[in-house]
Structures are given as C-alpha cells and as structure tokens.
Symmetry: C2
Subunit: 264 residues, 2 copies
Amino acid sequence: MNTLHIIKIGGNVIDSEQDLAAFLTDLSKIQGPKLLVHGGGKLATALSKKLEIPSQLVDGRRITDAETLKVVTMVYAGWINKHIVAQLQGLGTNAIGLSGADGHCIRSTRRQAQQIDYGFVGDVSAEGVNTTFFASLLQQGIVPVLSAITCDAQGQLLNTNADTLASVLAIALSKHYTVSLVYCFEKKGVLRDKDNNDSVITSIDPAEYITLKAQGIVNEGMLPKLDNAFAARQQGAGSVVLAHAADLLSILQLQTHAGTHITL
Amino acid sequence: MNTLHIIKIGGNVIDSEQDLAAFLTDLSKIQGPKLLVHGGGKLATALSKKLEIPSQLVDGRRITDAETLKVVTMVYAGWINKHIVAQLQGLGTNAIGLSGADGHCIRSTRRQAQQIDYGFVGDVSAEGVNTTFFASLLQQGIVPVLSAITCDAQGQLLNTNADTLASVLAIALSKHYTVSLVYCFEKKGVLRDKDNNDSVITSIDPAEYITLKAQGIVNEGMLPKLDNAFAARQQGAGSVVLAHAADLLSILQLQTHAGTHITL
C-alpha cells in the first residue's frame, strides 16, 4: 500500500506567520499522498474577546455556544483554512480546504450533555470518515486540508477536537494506505522533564504510558493527545510520532529519530 | 448535453435565516447537476464595524484592505459557506463548500490600481475556471457551493465579485453542459418602475438593454449585474434569468415565466 502522511499542526505553528510559512514550505516538499489537519490558535479567542463573547475552557476544551460556534467556524474553517490552502497553492501544492460538512467527509455526533454541557461539540469516530471521498481527492494528487469543524447527520455544525480528528482519519484511511501520522506541537516530543526541552522520551509503548501517567510525567493537555496517538497506532496507523513542526521534514525524509514515537 | 443549473444568491437571501432555509429547501429539490454561488450579505459589514475596521464602498464594490480581506474570508468562505453546506447536508444534498483557492478551482488576477485601488480584489475570467475539477465533482453528484473568495497564481487570497464569478462559471462550464443561470436577487426581476415590484420586464435583448440604459431605467447596481448576465448569455449559457429567490423552483420546474429573461 502507498504511504499516506497525515500531519496535524496546532496553534503554535498557526499563530506565527513565519513558522506557518516555513512549515508549509516543508509540507509542500513531502512526496506522495498527504493530508493536513489544523487546529485553531489564538485568533478565535482574540476574536471572541473583541466581540465580547465570553470564552470558556474546561479540561482544555472550549465550551461552544451558538456565538462561539460562529466564531470558530469563521476562524478555523474560514480564515485559517483558506490562508493555508492559498499559501500551498502559491507553493505549487494543490490543496483543498475542507470542513467535515464539505462532501460530508466527516460525519460527527453531537456530544450529549452530562456533567458538563460542551454545547455545539461533535465527537468523531473512524466510521464517520468518508474514505471514498478522501481516496478520490488523494488519487487526483489533491492535498486535503481539514479544519476541525464538522457536522452531524441533521446538518448541525459542530466544533471538534483536532487531535481526535487526525486520529480517526488515520484509523479510517489505514484501510487504504500505510498511514504515517505526525502530531506537530510546541515541544520536541513528550518530555520527561517539562522544563527541559532536551528530555524527549524517544518512544512510548502502552506499558510505559501507564507508568508515565502514574508518575505524573504526562498529564493535563498531553493526556488526550497521547490517548489519540495510541488509538491511531493501535487501530491501524503504521507509525505515530509527536514532534516539533520544525523537525517534520528531517523525520520523514532523513529518517532522523526526532520526537516521540508511539510503539505497540 | 446535460443541463447544469447555476444559481447565484445575494445578501437578501443570506441575511434572513428563514428565507435562506426556504431557498435551500427549494434548491435541494432541483434535479440534476447544480452549483450555487453566494454573495456576502450584511454580516461582513457588521463584523467590520464591531472590529472597528472602516468599511468603504466605491461603485457598489468594497475596498478590500488586509483586515477587510480577513473579515470577508472569515464570513464568506467560513461562516456563510459552511452554514449553507451543513444545511444542505441536513436536507440530504451532498454539497461541498469552496473558495477559489480550494483545488485552485478559480484562479483570479489581482486588479491593478488605476484611479481607484480596490486593494485585495481579484478579477476572474472563464480561463481561470478549473472545469475538470468541477466536472469531477458534478459527476459524483456533489453540489459545489462557491464563495466569492479566490486566489491568484501566487497564492494571494482575493475578494471577487460574486455576480461575475457566477457569470464566468456559466461561460466556462457551458463547454460541458447546457447551462441555465439564475441570478436571484431582492426584486422579482428587472423593474421598469423601481417602485413598482410588478413592473417586471419579462425579457431584455442587447438592443433593448442599450435603450433601457439610455433611458436611465437600469442604473447603478443593476448595471454590473446585467453586464454579467449578458456576458454569460452571449458566451455560452443556454438561459439566463434574473428573478426573486422565491420564484426559483416555479421557474425551473414549472417553466413559469417569472423574472427577467436575457435573450440574444
């Protein structure tokens, strides 16, 4: 099977024009089928603040009321998505920007309110991925660029976790491709000492993960990211790495061992 | 050749949730290949105002500085586009939202500053339409929903006139389809007396158009719209009608003679 590179970038890359341009230049050099998932960054929070919409986070996840849904759809599926796609076009990479509503490529389910009502938030699973649609684009040499706005079967737009979206895409598309998934984030990998950027844990297997959690070495925001990374690796992705965006090209092209590799 | 329905809606439909829902329900009932082009509406102006970005119009066209480009990209290609696509998905119509950057489906050229510098504004022509890409989507039964944000060969996002975009799409796609183009706007058609909504001119040919201009019966905002309508009809569209959105279904399904028909 062909290798498909799925790359997820977060706010740290998106918030810096210079870092984003450097990353997109690197991305455009990766040969073969590839797919980008992007998160949000600070613009949505800044815009909500300017519009005087209160912004709430619980466990690192945004509470999405109707006004916030409008803002994140504008910012993620609008400005950030089109800004990335246009830059890729300028680099000669034929990209297409997508929300989950487009071509109904990602069908999500609205999260039911339990202790916390997250509002217009959607959960995704590999079953909701329209693999035929993605395979058709990839075969045409088109690079899908996904924002984490999806919709449910009733046509309700929903805010989705971008890490989870990258994971379920990796799982679903591993039926058609050997998937290489890279989560790019602000660190060089999972750190043993959060204050020492050189203390990267080079690989983590499920047993080690349990230990790291028990020791409190991985916690808070890293937990859902690692849960998503393990889910992807255990359910079909051929390789899963967490690394700094600046190391992407050397990892993929030079096989440099940078970042944290998820093993089984 | 198959008939392709190209429908353009403007702000009057978009600004009313109720009118938009009714229009999209009608659109979803139209059989066969179809494509929607949407304009902006009041939200971009309202958002610019809230963000204290001065909004300028010259000859009915917005001056697009860098901040305004961000706002229109967020509003047109983000919220409005995805809101429409999600609603169509809820109605069982598989739509895909596109800016011109996506799949580089519309390549525009930045307008050079002459007497007036329009800023980040793009001009489009039929040559810039990626007909292969649109034909591929239409053959899969997918309905393209176009916002009038495009990009040039260098990857610069540009604000584009939605009426012109609909016209050049009609011209380019008339090589593959018998194109029926309907401009939906706030009137029942081109009016002989602007204060009498029943004074619809049922058809206009090029000679009549010159007369109507000379008499001042058509002027201002109607001139570019009619220029675009005539360009489409003269360069390949099989039929071009200007009508109220509420009359769309009866025109297309019942062949009711509503609106103003452009003839040669």
